[in-house]
C-alpha cells in the first residue's frame, strides 16, 4: 500500500478538522453573498480554494468557518452577523454535505453521518466591540471560538503584528477570556502577541487553540507560536493548528514579503493596495525577484518541530484557505491535506499519530471546553463587567 492509499484509508475513519477557512469572507468580497454565483456544490477552483467536491477529496470532516471582518470596518458587529448569516445560508443550501455543529458530540455525529461538521470562529476581538453582551450574542448564534485579535490591537489585547500597547491582556481582556471559558467558546491565540498568548494561558481555565499558526522556531514570523508557549500546551490541554500560509512558514518567503512590502512603500503604496497601479508595481518586483515557493515538506517541518515542543496530543491543522493569496506546492487548495499526511507518514508518523492530528485532538479540545463551561456555569453568572469599569484609561 502506498502512503497515499494508507492516508485515504485513515481519513475515512479520522477525517481532517480544519481550524480556519475564510470562504465566507471570499463570498462576501467576490459576490456579495450571491451564493448562486459561487455554487460550492460545483467546482469553484477558478475563484476559490474551497468547494464541497474538493473538501471531500481532501478528506475534510469538520471545518471551523471563519466569520472574519476587517478591523477597519466601520461596522464590525453588523458585518460579523452578516458573515454568520452567510454560513447559515451555506448550511441550509447543502444539508447533504454540511452539518451544523455546536459541540464535540455534533462533530462526532457528523463523522458518523459522513457529513462535514460546520462550526464557526470569529477572527478578532473587534467583532464584539468591547462588549461581553455582544460576545454572548455571538455564542448564541453558534460562534465557538474567537481569535482575541486580528492584525491590529484591540483595546484589551495586543496583536502580534501591531505596536505593543497593553503588554498582553488588560484586566478587561482577562475578563473576556474568563467569560469565554464560562460560555464554552474556545480562546484562539492565533494573530495575538506572544505576551497576549502567555496572559491568556494564565487566565484561561479551559484549553486554548491556535486556529492557524505554525512554529516560530522553524520560521521567525510573529504570526507563529514561540517554543515557550508551545511547551505550555500539554498543561493547558489545548492545541496549535499548523497553517500553510507561505509567508508565515518559509523563511525565504518571509524575507521576500518584507522586501516586496518595502518596495510598495518606496513607490508610495500601502503593501496591501490592490489597485491597478499598485499591482503593476508589485508585478514588476515579482519579475525581478521570483517568489519563493513553500512545499508540503516546509509545513511538515513545522509539524515535526511542534510535535517536539508541544507533543502529539496538542497539534492540529488550520489551512487558512481562501484567507491567503498564495499556498504551498502540493497544498494548493482544500483537496491537498492527504499530501501533507502522506509526507508525515513517510517521515515515520504512525497512523495513531495522524488520527490525533487530523481529528481526535480537535474534538477533545472542544469537548474539554464544554466541560469547563458546565462547571463554571454552575457557580458563575454572566459577567456584566465593562471595559470602562476594569481598564482605567491611561493618564
Amino acid at each position: 500500500m502506498t502512503s497515499q492509499e494508507a492516508v485515504r484509508e485513515l481519513l475515512r475513519e479520522f477525517p481532517v478538522v480544519d481550524g480556519h477557512n475564510d470562504l465566507p469572507w471570499a463570498l462576501r468580497e467576490q459576490v456579495r453573498y450571491d451564493l448562486d454565483a459561487r455554487d460550492i456544490a460545483t467546482d469553484q477552483s477558478a475563484h476559490l480554494h474551497t468547494d464541497i467536491p474538493r473538501l471531500r477529496a481532501g478528506g475534510v470532516g469538520a471545518q471551523y468557518w471563519s466569520v472574519y471582518v476587517r478591523t477597519d470596518a466601520p461596522d464590525p458587529v453588523a458585518a460579523t452577523l452578516e458573515q454568520i448569516d452567510c454560513v447559515r445560508q451555506l448550511l441550509t443550501r447543502h444539508p447533504e454535505d454540511l452539518r451544523p455543529a455546536l459541540t464535540a458530540a455534533d462533530m462526532e455525529a457528523a463523522r458518523g453521518e459522513g457529513r462535514i461538521a460546520s462550526l464557526m470562529g470569529a477572527e478578532g476581538g473587534h467583532s464584539i466591540a468591547n462588549s461581553l453582551g455582544t460576545l454572548r450574542g455571538l455564542y448564541g448564534l453558534g460562534v465557538r471560538y474567537m481569535t482575541l485579535t486580528h492584525n491590529d490591537n484591540v483595546d484589551w489585547a495586543d496583536s502580534a503584528t501591531d505596536q505593543p500597547r497593553a503588554g498582553g491582556l488588560t484586566a478587561f481582556g482577562r475578563e473576556v477570556v474568563r467569560e469565554m471559558n464560562r460560555l464554552g467558546m474556545l480562546v484562539d491565540l492565533s494573530h495575538v502577541a506572544a505576551t497576549t498568548m502567555r496572559d491568556a494561558l494564565d487566565a484561561s481555565s479551559a484549553p486554548v487553540i491556535f486556529s492557524h499558526s505554525s512554529a516560530r522556531a522553524v520560521c521567525d514570523h510573529p504570526r507563529n507560536v514561540p517554543d515557550d508557549v508551545l511547551e505550555r500546551l500539554p498543561a493547558n490541554g489545548g492545541m496549535a493548528m499548523v497553517t500553510f500560509v507561505p509567508k508565515f512558514v518559509l523563511q525565504a518567503a518571509v524575507d521576500w514579503t518584507a522586501a516586496a512590502d518595502e518596495n510598495m512603500r518606496v513607490h508610495g503604496f500601502h503593501p496591501l493596495d490592490t489597485t491597478a497601479e499598485a499591482m503593476k508595481v508589485h508585478r514588476a518586483f515579482e519579475e525581478r525577484h521570483p517568489r519563493p515557493v513553500a512545499t508540503v515538506s516546509t509545513v511538515a517541518d513545522h509539524l515535526d518541530h511542534m510535535r517536539e515542543a508541544a507533543g502529539i496530543d496538542h497539534l492540529g491543522i488550520g489551512g487558512d484557505y481562501d484567507g491567503t493569496a498564495f499556498t504551498p506546492d502540493g497544498l494548493a487548495d482544500v483537496s491537498g491535506y492527504p499530501n501533507l499526511l502522506a509526507e508525515l507518514l513517510d517521515r515515520g508518523w504512525s497512523k495513531a499519530d495522524l488520527a490525533k492530528l487530523t481529528w481526535k485532538n480537535a474534538v477533545r479540545v472542544l469537548d474539554a471546553a464544554e466541560d469547563v463551561a458546565r462547571g463554571l456555569q454552575a457557580t458563575r453568572s454572566p459577567s456584566n463587567a465593562t471595559i470602562g469599569s476594569l481598564d482605567t484609561p491611561a493618564g
Binding site: D75, L81, A129, G133, L141
Partner: protein, 378 residues
C-alpha cells in the same frame, strides 16, 4: 388545553396547500360570542368578575421595559418582589399577567454598528433576567410556547419590539436577531421606513419579516409606512403603543381612519397605560378602549402596560398588579366577557398565531432574501 388543540389544528393546516389559500392567515383561536364559555357570574361585583375573567384570560402585555430598568440596580429579586420597579413576579401574578413583551428599544440616537451591538446586548440582558427568574418567567417565541408557559403557570416573555435601526440595514442581521429571539420590530427611524413611507428595501424587509415571523410594529410610523405595510404584510401587524388621537392628540396615537384601516386588516392596536397618551385616570384609558373597540373592532384592541419604560401612568394603574381595576371599569361600562377576553389575551394570541402560520407557509415558498439596501434603494 384549548391552546394546545389550536396548535394541532394550525399544524394540520400548515401541511395543506399554502398557495391555494386566499385568506392571508386562518382565524384560528379567534374567540366568538357563540363559542365563548362564560367564567364569571354576572351578578358578582365588577372587581370579582374581573378577577374571574382574568384568571381564565390573563393579560398579554404588549410593552414592558423591565430588563433595562433593572440595569441600574446592583441587585434585584423578581421572585420575592422588587419595589424599585413596576414589574415583579408577585405583582404580575396579582395583576393576572400571562405574557409580557420586553422592549429592546435603545436610547435615542444610536444607529449603525452601535445600534446593532446595543441590540445584541439588550437581547442578552433580557435573557439573563429571564434566566435568573425561572420560577416566574419563561422565554417564549411562538404562540405555542406562550400557551406552554401559561400551562406551566409561568409568565411568557417575548422579545421585542426592537427599533428598526437594530437591523443595520441588513436582512442577514434581521435573520440573526430573529434567531436570538426577536419577535417584534418597530418600523421607524431608518431611511427605508420614513415619512415618505417604505422604500423598495423597506418592502423587502417586511417580506423577510413575514418569512421569519417577526411582527411589524407601526406605533410612531408615518401614515405612509403604516398604509403600505398594511397592504403588503401577509401576517397581522400591531401598534405596540397607540391610543385614539380623536380623544388625545399625541403623535403615536392613531386617527380614526387609520384605526378603521388597521381593524379591516385584522391588525392590533395595543393601548399604552400612560398618562401622556391616554390621560390621567382609569376612566380615560377605558374611554380609549371603548373608542378603539367601536372604530377598529373588538378583535383589534389590546393592552400595553408600558411599565418600567420611564412613562408616567394613570392614577390607580401604577404597576403590573393593576389590570383588574381596568377590567372592572370596562365591565361596569357593559363590556361583555368575550370582548374582555379578546382584549386581554385572545387578540395577541391571534396575531402571534397568524405570524407563525404566515412564516411556516412563506418558508416553503421563499428563500432567504439576499437583497441589499444599496441594490434596492441605490
Amino acid at each position: 388545553m384549548a391552546d394546545l388543540q389550536d396548535d394541532l389544528r394550525t399544524d394540520a393546516a400548515a401541511a395543506g396547500e399554502f398557495d391555494e389559500r386566499t385568506e392571508p392567515y386562518p382565524d384560528e383561536g379567534v374567540v366568538t360570542a357563540e363559542s365563548y364559555e362564560p367564567v364569571s357570574d354576572p351578578d358578582d361585583a365588577p372587581m370579582t368578575r374581573a378577577r374571574a375573567i382574568l384568571a381564565a384570560h390573563p393579560v398579554a402585555d404588549g410593552y414592558n421595559g423591565l430588563p433595562w430598568a433593572l440595569k441600574r440596580l446592583p441587585w434585584y429579586d423578581l421572585e420575592d418582589g422588587e419595589s424599585t420597579v413596576d414589574t415583579d413576579v408577585p405583582r404580575l401574578r396579582s395583576g393576572h399577567v400571562g405574557a409580557l413583551f420586553w422592549s429592546l428599544h435603545l436610547p435615542e440616537g444610536l444607529d449603525g454598528d452601535r445600534a446593532v451591538g446595543a441590540t445584541l446586548e439588550q437581547l442578552d440582558l433580557a435573557k439573563t433576567v429571564a434566566r435568573a427568574c425561572e420560577e416566574g418567567l419563561r422565554p417564549a417565541c411562538t404562540a405555542g410556547q406562550v400557551a406552554d408557559a401559561r400551562n406551566r403557570g409561568r409568565v411568557a416573555v417575548l422579545l421585542g419590539p426592537a427599533g428598526a435601526p437594530a437591523l443595520g440595514d441588513s436582512l442577514g442581521i434581521l435573520r440573526q436577531l430573529h434567531l436570538l429571539g426577536l419577535r417584534v420590530l418597530t418600523l421607524t427611524g431608518v431611511s427605508w421606513a420614513s415619512e415618505e413611507g417604505l422604500t423598495r428595501f423597506g418592502e423587502e424587509v417586511v417580506r423577510e419579516m413575514n418569512r421569519l415571523g417577526v411582527i411589524a410594529d407601526l406605533s410612531g410610523a408615518s401614515t405612509q409606512t403604516l398604509r403600505r405595510v398594511l397592504s403588503l404584510s401577509r401576517a397581522p401587524v400591531l401598534c405596540s403603543r397607540s391610543a385614539a388621537r380623536s380623544l388625545r392628540p399625541h403623535p403615536a396615537n392613531l386617527p380614526d381612519d387609520l384605526l378603521a384601516e388597521l381593524g379591516a386588516a385584522k391588525g392590533l392596536c395595543l393601548v399604552p397605560l400612560t398618562a401622556e397618551q391616554t390621560g390621567p385616570t382609569v376612566r380615560d384609558v377605558a374611554d380609549h378602549l371603548d373608542h378603539i373597540r367601536a372604530v377598529a373592532g373588538a378583535h383589534c384592541v389590546g393592552l400595553s402596560g408600558t411599565y418600567d419604560s420611564g412613562a408616567a401612568h394613570p392614577q390607580e394603574l401604577g404597576d403590573t398588579s393593576c389590570y383588574p381595576r381596568l377590567v372592572a371599569e370596562l365591565l361596569r361600562r357593559g363590556w361583555d366577557e368575550p370582548d374582555v377576553a379578546l382584549l386581554t389575551w385572545g387578540n395577541v394570541q391571534r396575531v402571534l398565531r397568524g405570524a407563525d402560520f404566515t412564516a411556516r407557509a412563506a418558508q416553503q415558498r421563499r428563500e432567504p432574501s439576499t437583497a441589499t439596501i444599496s441594490e434596492l434603494d441605490g
